[in-house]
Amino acid sequence: MANLQHPVAAPAEQSSSPSPPDSRPAAARRLSRVKERIIEALLLLAAFTSVAITVGIVGTLVYESSTFFAHVPLKDFLTDTLWTPLFASPRFGILPLIMGTLVTTLVALTVALPVGTVVAIYLSEFAPVAVREIIKPALELLSAVPTVVYGYFALQFMSPLLQKFIPGLPTFNMLSAGVVMGIMIIPYVSSLSEDAMRAVPMSLREGAYALGANRIITALKVVYPSAFSGIVASYILAISRAIGETMIVAIAAGMQPNLTADPREPAATITAFIVQVSLGDLPHGSIGYQSIFAAGITLFIMTLIFNILGYILRKRFREVY
């Protein structure tokens, strides 16, 4: 990998020795060494762009929302139960939006985590190789479908379908958005968890078999715990995806902030609110413009918490073979 000690890559000063003589004049050699340095600097610069992007994200969110928080006390923002920033007498309580985000996320996870985990166990421990080679890429296509198409599907297909089973379900509701979102993130859970389970050494399974365990007991009691750090990483990724998912909820869950824990009701999420405001024509610097950055920084912090949590869990549960 990186940082290798290559004897031949050492500077060409030893050309007096019998090793391959460099026939070029010293100036040309110096030039090529300068060129190498410049190229390395350019490559480093490219790698550093990613850091610049992060700085840009955090900087913009903090800068733009700081003007928002100069108008709105943080206490009101976190405790007020009404979010009506574009009304004549605006109220700025983020709770209804957070609630909408959490409810749709929970619905999605209720679908994606169990199904994804079972699929991962099935593909890694049960399915024949040929089946796995076909099913895995096919499932990954689920995450290749544009989210706006999923939004259409949730509104035009899932909602009418669920209305047949749940009488009185409105057309826009968090349940159908959440269920479709859950199906969308199944491959995030199943693919990464399967990779983690397949990395568990065969000898562990053989040990379990030797003690008389069957496949399912081996999978649940030996493979699953051994691969736990990788599986948790896939769960956390799924949670981050669900919290940040925008188009499905913007299309199918409704645009009205609504402080409720009932997934059958319509409610706006943080992301749906940002979309809704961006669709209108908001002057730069207005309170409405600033409010999407306040919503954005809340979203960013929520996903950051889960990313850090995932990092800690991975470290704690990492098994080394």
């Binding site: 290559h6 800068y63 499932l139 290749a144 999923y150 981050s240």
Partner: protein, 302 residues
């Protein structure tokens, strides 16, 4: 002894039951994908004709088409690829081949892992505050393309690194032994040998960018646009023009979103048509990526 047999039978039964459960769960995903495709085909196929591809959006659903939005998608992708591919590949090469193990490398690596977890709409907010207003690029094709380039950069970097990692160390050492400099090794050996894996990653990243809607809405992309950006080729010298970079735009997913959120059923049919075009593009890109990956895996035996 019969006790023992009963236990064995029970355990075999457990395995059998889980096998069924596993197949059913796997089918949930596959069947949904199928239902989605069928639903979209049934709704959208009647709308899919040449007029739909060559007309601007309109107040009248029957006359509306997706000309401005597919042209917008195409131009945005040109900018995104032009920015994300060189940056991403260069960053990947640096991290895999050049980087020393120090705090700076660690910082960059943790940062890339974190960027991959940032919701796409947050990239849109960053582009709105920074590119649109601070750098005064406006809501242009350039801004939109750069926004999506930032978004897919981590995917390109990770794909490049993984492709480089599969090249055996011996190739590098052989090149060094012949007196190659580090850049010569990268340029003449590592990049050509890893192109399959890198291309797969780039195509998947672009197909993701094509479907992205939220960040472009956030930077203020238009939902209704009845003109095309100025053409990139002019009749007078210098024959090329970059005017289109600063043109306003719409893209396919935004057009679809605009139509799907209207109460009029005729527009919903249009949305299905646009969605069909969108999904055909992304699925065929993914198919290409799968074929490349498969062929690379078959061809190269180190």
């Amino acid at each position: 002894m019969s006790d023992f047999k009963r236990i064995i039978a029970k355990r075999k039964r457990q395995d059998f039951i889980f096998n069924i459960v596993g197949i059913v769960c796997t089918l949930i995903g596959i069947v949904t994908l199928g239902a989605l495709l069928v639903d979209l085909f049934l709704d959208g196929l009647p709308r899919l004709n040449l007029a739909f591809l060559t007309h601007f959006p309109s107040r009248f659903a029957e006359q509306a088409g997706i000309l401005s939005s597919w042209v917008g998608t195409l131009l945005i992708m040109v900018v995104t690829a032009a920015a994300a591919v060189p940056l991403g590949v260069a960053a990947g090469v640096y991290l895999e081949e050049y980087a020393r193990r120090n705090w700076l490398t660690n910082l960059i690596e943790i940062n890339i892992a974190n960027l991959a977890g940032v919701p796409s709409i947050v990239y849109g907010l960053m582009a709105l505050g920074l590119l649109v207003y601070q750098f005064r690029l406006g809501t242009s094709i350039l801004t939109g393309g750069l926004t999506l380039a930032f978004l897919i950069l981590p995917i390109v970097i990770v794909a490049t690194r993984e492709a480089l990692r599969t090249i055996p160390q011996g190739i590098r050492e052989a090149a060094y032994a012949l007196g190659s400099t580090k850049w010569q090794v990268v340029r003449h050996h590592l990049l050509p040998y890893s192109i399959g894996g890198t291309m797969t990653g780039i195509i998947i990243a672009l197909s993701r960018a094509i479907g992205e809607t939220a960040p472009l809405i956030t930077i203020g992309a238009l939902t209704f646009i009845a003109f095309l950006p100025p053409p990139p080729i002019k009749s007078q010298a210098p024959f090329v023009s970059v005017e289109w970079l600063s043109s306003p735009f719409s893209v396919l997913p935004i057009q679809m979103f605009n139509w799907v959120s209207r109460p009029d059923q005729a527009f919903v049919v249009n949305a299905a048509g646009a969605g069909l075009v969108l999904i055909l593009i992304t699925l065929s890109l993914n198919a290409v990526a799968i074929v490349i990956r498969y062929r690379v895996r078959k061809r190269i035996k180190w």
